[in-house]
C-alpha cells in the first residue's frame, strides 16, 4: 500500500527545526497594547486598570531566519513531490546566518492591586533555539571545495538551545507622576546546549589539494540526558538555578503623554546538573595516503589515518558546571493619547547580542469600545522596515482574548516569511 503522509506542515512548526538570538524576542507591538497585562512583561512599571487580573495560559512564538524562506528551500515538482533546493538558498546566504525560534508559554500571570501597589506573579516556560552558520559551510557541503581552493573557510556552526522556567514576583507603585516597577525572577534551567567556542576551518591547497582542518570547539550541555530519559521529573527538578531582574519606569509628562523605559532580563542561570561538556581542539593535515606501506605489504590501510583523526579531534569530555547569561533588553517608549479612544506610540528597542541590535516601532491604537481594541504598528526590526504589526484584543464578559503580532502579513504567507511572531492568550479581568 502506498503510504503517503499528507502532512500539514504548519509554518509554526518549521522553526522547531532550528534555533535563538540575533532575531531575539522583539515583541514591539505588545509594548503599546497597554490594555493587555502581558505588556508588563516588557516593562514592569505597566499596571492593569483592573484590581485583579488572572492571566490564563498564553503562548508566544517567534521565528526568525535571516537567510531564506520555506519556499526558497522547499520546491515542488510537477507531481507535487517536494525537494530541498539548497542551490537556490545559497546565493541568499550571508556570512553569518541564523535560524532561531522562541516558544514561551505563560502558565499563569496574577496581578493584584493593594492600595496603590500592584503586586504580580507569573510562571513561564521558555524554550529557545538558535543555530548560527556560515554560508561557507553550506557552500562547502553543497558545492564542494573546488570553488574555495586557496581560501580558508570558517565552517563551525554555533548552537544555543535553552529550556528554562521562570517564576517572577514583582510590584509596581506610583511615586508622584512616576510609576516604578520591578520584577525578581527565579530561573530554573531544565536543559541547555550551547557552543562556547565554535571555530572550525578548512583550507584546500591549490597545488596538491592538501586539506588542512582546524577546530576549537567547546560544546556545553546540561540536563539533556535527563530530559530525554525522564521528561517529567527533569522538568520538575530545581537543579540549575538562576536569577534575573526586570526594572521599569513610566513617567507621565502630562495628562496625555507618557515616557517609559525598562531593562529586563538582567540575570543568569548556573547549569550544574547532568553536565556533559565536549572540547575538541586540534589541527590535521590530510595529504593523501602514504604509499610506502603498500610497497612493503601490498595492502593499504587507512586505520592509522583514522586513528590520527580520532586522536586529534575526538572530544575531551568534562562535567564542569557553567553559567549562561540572559540577553538583557532595553525598551524606551513614548505614548500619547489623541483622544479618549485612540493614541499613538513610539518605541526604541535595544538588545546586546554580538553588538547592539536596535529596533524601533510606531503604533496607532484604537479602542472601539469596551469589548474591542485594535492597533497597528510599523516597525524596523531585524534590519527590515517591512513589518506591519497588528494587535487585537476584546472581552467576553470578564474573559479577555488577545492576538498580537509585529508582522501580520507574514502570518498569512508564512512560507514566504523570514520572520514570524505572535502572542495570543486569554486573561480574566476580575475586579475593576
Amino acid at each position: 500500500m502506498r503510504q503517503l503522509f499528507r502532512r500539514k506542515i504548519c509554518c509554526l512548526i518549521v522553526p522547531f527545526m532550528a534555533a535563538n538570538v540575533l532575531f531575539a524576542q522583539q515583541e514591539l507591538t505588545l509594548y503599546f497594547t497597554d490594555n493587555v497585562i502581558q505588556a508588563a512583561a516588557l516593562n514592569p512599571s505597566f499596571v492593569p486598570n483592573e484590581k485583579t487580573v488572572v492571566g490564563l495560559p498564553s503562548f508566544v512564538f517567534n521565528y526568525g531566519n535571516n537567510a531564506f524562506t520555506y519556499n526558497d528551500l522547499i520546491k515542488k515538482r510537477a507531481d507535487d513531490s517536494t525537494y530541498l533546493d539548497i542551490g537556490n538558498v545559497i546565493p541568499g546566504l550571508g556570512k553569518a546566518n541564523i535560524i532561531q525560534t522562541q516558544q514561551n508559554l505563560d502558565l499563569i500571570r496574577l496581578y493584584y492591586r493593594h492600595n496603590n501597589i500592584h503586586f504580580n506573579f507569573h510562571i513561564s516556560e521558555k524554550f529557545s533555539t538558535k543555530v548560527a552558520y556560515s554560508s561557507a559551510l553550506i557552500d562547502l557541503l553543497w558545492n564542494g571545495n573546488v570553488a574555495s581552493i586557496n581560501k580558508t573557510l570558517e565552517i563551525g556552526p554555533a548552537v544555543n538551545i535553552h529550556y528554562y522556567r521562570e517564576m517572577g514576583f514583582g510590584a509596581a507603585f506610583p511615586v508622584k507622576n512616576i510609576h516604578l516597577g520591578f520584577k525578581l525572577k527565579l530561573l530554573n534551567g531544565i536543559a541547555d546546549i550551547s557552543t562556547k567556542n565554535h571555530l572550525s576551518s578548512v583550507y584546500t591547497h591549490a597545488q596538491d589539494y592538501t586539506i588542512y582542518l582546524e577546530t576549537d570547539y567547546h560544546i556545553r550541555t546540561s540536563g539533556v540526558q535527563n530530559l530525554l530519559n525522564d521528561p517529567l521529573s527533569s522538568s520538575l527538578s530545581f537543579d540549575n538555578n538562576g536569577i534575573a531582574l526586570d526594572l521599569g519606569v513610566n513617567y507621565s509628562i502630562n495628562e496625555k503623554t507618557n515616557l517609559s523605559a525598562s531593562i529586563i532580563n538582567l540575570g543568569f542561570i548556573n547549569w550544574t546538573s547532568d553536565i556533559k561538556n565536549y572540547k575538541s581542539k586540534g589541527a590535521f593535515t590530510y595529504e593523501g595516503i602514504e604509499l610506502n606501506a603498500y610497497f612493503q605489504t601490498d595492502t593499504l590501510s587507512v586505520q592509522a589515518l583514522a586513528d590520527s583523526v580520532k586522536t586529534i579531534f575526538f572530544p575531551i569530555e568534562d562535567e564542569r558546571s557553567y553559567k549562561s547569561n540572559l540577553v538583557p533588553r532595553v525598551y524606551i517608549g513614548l505614548q500619547h493619547e489623541l483622544n479618549e479612544t485612540s493614541g499613538f506610540g513610539a518605541l526604541l528597542f535595544l538588545e546586546s547580542v554580538k553588538g547592539l541590535q536596535p529596533a524601533a516601532a510606531v503604533s496607532y491604537q484604537k479602542n472601539w469600545n469596551k469589548r474591542l481594541s485594535t492597533g497597528i504598528s510599523w516597525s524596523y526590526k531585524n534590519k527590515k522596515l517591512n513589518n506591519l504589526g497588528l494587535s487585537l484584543s476584546g472581552n467576553f464578559g470578564k474573559l479577555q482574548y488577545f492576538l498580537i503580532t509585529d508582522n501580520v502579513i507574514n502570518l498569512f504567507v508564512p512560507a514566504d516569511a523570514k520572520n514570524i511572531n505572535f502572542r495570543f492568550g486569554f486573561n480574566l479581568l476580575l475586579r475593576s
Partner: protein
C-alpha cells in the same frame, strides 16, 4: 457591533488556517547535489627500499662504498658432519684361536692411521666347563687407553652350576686405535681373549666366547680418508625484485655471486656448483658459465695443528670470470643450483687427513646486485582485482600528479581496465606517456638534478562507466634509465621519488 466581533474571530481563524502549508514532505528529497571535490589521494616520498619490497626469501638492501644500493640475496647450507658421513655400525667379533680381527670400512681408498673412540662397548657372553672362578683377559695390542696398551681383566665367579659363565660389557670410551699401515691389515685391529683359572692361573683350553663392539662413535679419525663425493644439495634462490617483470632488459654493472665456506674437514675438499642458472617469468633460462661451474673449486682446510677449527674460503663469480651479467639480463626471478663436495680428488694416499666427528662445511651463498647499470625498456606488470562500486555517479574526474624524481629512471605508466576474464576494455592514458621523468645524471651515473613533472589525467564520463564495469586493473610501468637506457646510472640510498596525486571530481551524491 457584533460584526466587529465576527471580524476579529475571522481574523484569528484565517491566520491559523492560512498559516498551514500543505506540502507532501514524506518523500522530500535533495536534487542536483553534485559537489565538486578536490582531494589529495596519495602523498609519498619513496626511496629505493620502498620499491624493492618483500624480501620474503632472505634478501636485504645494503650499500657499497660508493653509496650504491646493493640488493643482496643469500642462502645457507651446511654439509653433513663427519659422524653423519661415517656412521659406525655394531661389529661382531669372530674369535679364532682366541683372537678376532676388527675392520673399519670407510671407502675403498681410505687408509686409517688412528681412530679415537668417543663411545663404544665390548659386549660379551662367556662360558667355560669348569666349576671354579675364572679370570677372563681381553687385550687389544694396537689400542691404547690412557697411553697404555688396552688390557682388561674380568673375574668370572663360579656360582655352583655345571659351568662358569658371565655376560657383561666393557667401556671402550677414549680408546685410541692405532691401525697397522700394511695392506693386509689396512683399517684393522685385533682383540685377544684369554681365560685362566682364578686360583692357580692355569689357562683354560676350552671356553666359549661371543662378543661384539656396540654403540661405537668416533671422536677423531686420521690417515688417508679416501676420495668420495658427498653433500649433494639442490636449492633455489628467489630473486623477488624480478617478480612481475615481463619484458625488457636490465644490465647490472658489477653483480657477483659470493660463496663463503667454513670447512672443518682436515682433508683436500673441492666444491662443485652444477646447473647454476637463472629462470625468468617467461621460463627462459640462462646458465651461468665460468670457472665456478666449469671446474671443482678447492676449499681451504685446516691442517693437523688446527684440529677442531674451521678454515674460510671465499669464491666469487663476477664479470671477470663468468657471464653473470647475462644471467641477470633476463630478469631472473630465481637462480637454481646444485652443490656437492669431493674429497681427495687427486688420490694422493700420502695425504694425512683427519676428521673430528662434528666437522662439517658451512656455506653462505650470496647474490650481490649493486644497482648500477642501465635499464632498457623494462616492463613491470601487476594485476589487481577491482570493484569501484557506483563510481558512475561521478560526472567527471581529473587527476593531477606531481612528481619530483631523483631516481635516474623514467617511468611510463599505463593502467588497463579489464573484465573478469582479463579482456581489456579501456585504458587510463591514451597513449601511454612518461609521467615520471628521469633525474639528470653526471658522468658517474649519479643524479645531479631531479626531474619535476606535473601530469593532468582527465577521466570523462564514458571512461568512468567503463571503469565501473571493469573487474581487474592491469598496472603496467615501463622503465628507462637516463640516456635512453644506454648510459650506466647509479641508484643510491639518497634517491627518492616524491609523488603527490590529487583529484578533482564532480559527482551526484544522490
Amino acid at each position: 457591533m457584533r460584526r466587529k466581533y465576527i471580524f476579529s474571530y475571522i481574523i484569528l481563524l484565517v491566520v491559523f488556517t492560512v498559516a498551514c502549508v500543505k506540502d507532501d514532505l514524506s518523500r522530500l528529497s535533495l536534487s542536483n547535489w553534485s559537489p565538486e571535490i578536490a582531494v589529495p589521494l596519495i602523498h609519498s616520498n619513496l626511496k629505493t627500499a620502498d620499491f624493492i619490497k618483500k624480501f620474503e626469501t632472505g634478501g636485504y638492501l645494503s650499500e657499497d662504498t660508493l653509496n650504491n644500493v646493493v640488493v643482496v640475496y643469500e642462502n645457507e647450507y651446511e654439509s653433513p658432519t663427519a659422524s653423519e658421513l661415517f656412521p659406525m655400525d655394531d661389529i661382531s667379533l669372530d674369535f679364532t684361536d682366541n683372537a678376532a680381527a676388527v675392520n673399519f670400512f670407510l671407502n675403498d681408498d681410505a687408509i686409517l692411521s688412528q681412530m679415537l673412540l668417543d663411545n663404544g662397548l665390548l659386549q660379551f657372553d662367556f662360558s667355560a666347563p669348569v666349576k671354579e672362578d675364572v679370570l677372563l683377559v681381553f687385550t687389544a695390542p694396537q689400542a691404547t687407553l690412557n697411553q697404555e696398551t688396552f688390557v682388561h681383566e674380568v673375574i668370572v665367579p663360579y656360582e655352583g652350576n655345571e659351568q662358569v659363565s658371565l655376560s657383561a660389557s666393557i667401556d671402550l670410551s677414549h680408546l685410541m686405535i692405532h691401525f697397522p699401515q700394511d695392506d693386509k691389515n689396512r683399517n684393522t685391529f685385533h682383540v685377544i681373549c684369554e681365560a685362566f683359572t682364578a686360583e692357580n692361573g692355569a689357562e683354560l683350553p676350552h671356553f666359549d666366547i661371543h662378543a661384539a663392539l656396540t654403540d661405537l662413535a668416533f671422536a677423531l679419525m686420521t690417515g688417508y680418508l679416501g676420495a668420495m663425493e658427498f653433500g649433494h644439495h639442490s636449492n633455489t634462490m628467489r630473486l623477488d625484485i624480478f617478480d612481475n617483470w615481463v619484458s625488457g632488459t636490465v644490465f647490472f654493472d658489477d653483480p657477483k655471486i659470493k660463496i663463503n665456506s667454513w670447512n672443518g674437514f682436515g682433508l683436500p675438499l673441492f666444491l662443485s656448483m652444477d646447473n647454476l642458472q637463472g629462470t625468468n617469468n617467461q621460463s627462459n633460462t640462462m646458465p651461468l658459465s665460468g670457472s665456478l661451474t666449469s671446474e671443482a673449486t678447492p676449499l681451504n682446510y685446516p691442517d693437523s695443528t688446527q684440529l677442531g677449527t674451521e678454515t674460510k674460503t671465499e669464491i666469487i663469480a663476477d664479470t671477470s670470470n663468468s657471464n653473470i651479467v647475462n644471467v641477470l639480463a633476463i630478469s631472473p626471478h630465481q637462480i637454481d643450483y646444485e652443490l656437492s663436495m669431493q674429497t681427495n680428488i687427486h688420490g694422493n694416499s700420502g695425504e694425512k687427513n683427519f676428521m673430528t666427528a662434528d666437522a662439517s662445511t658451512r656455506f653462505h651463498i650470496e647474490m650481490d646486485i649493486p644497482l648500477k647499470g642501465r635499464i632498457d625498456y623494462l616492463v613491470y606488470q601487476d594485476t589487481f582485482s577491482l570493484d569501484l562500486g557506483k563510481i558512475s555517479r561521478m560526472d567527471s574526474a581529473a587527476f593531477k600528479l606531481d612528481a619530483l624524481n631523483t631516481f635516474p629512471v623514467s617511468a611510463a605508466v599505463q593502467i588497463y581496465f579489464a573484465t573478469d576474464d582479463y579482456q581489456i576494455i579501456d585504458s587510463l592514458l591514451s597513449p601511454p606517456r612518461n609521467i615520471i621523468s628521469a633525474g639528470t645524471t653526471d658522468q658517474s651515473g649519479q643524479v645531479t638534478m631531479p626531474a619535476s613533472e606535473t601530469n593532468f589525467i582527465p577521466l570523462g564520463k564514458e571512461k568512468i562507466e567503463k571503469l565501473e564495469s571493469s573487474r581487474n586493473m592491469i598496472f603496467r610501468i615501463m622503465l628507462l634509465t637516463d640516456g635512453d637506457g644506454l648510459k650506466t646510472v647509479r641508484f643510491t640510498t639518497d634517491n627518492n621519488l616524491e609523488i603527490k596525486l590529487g583529484a578533482i571530481t564532480q559527482f551526484n551524491v544522490l
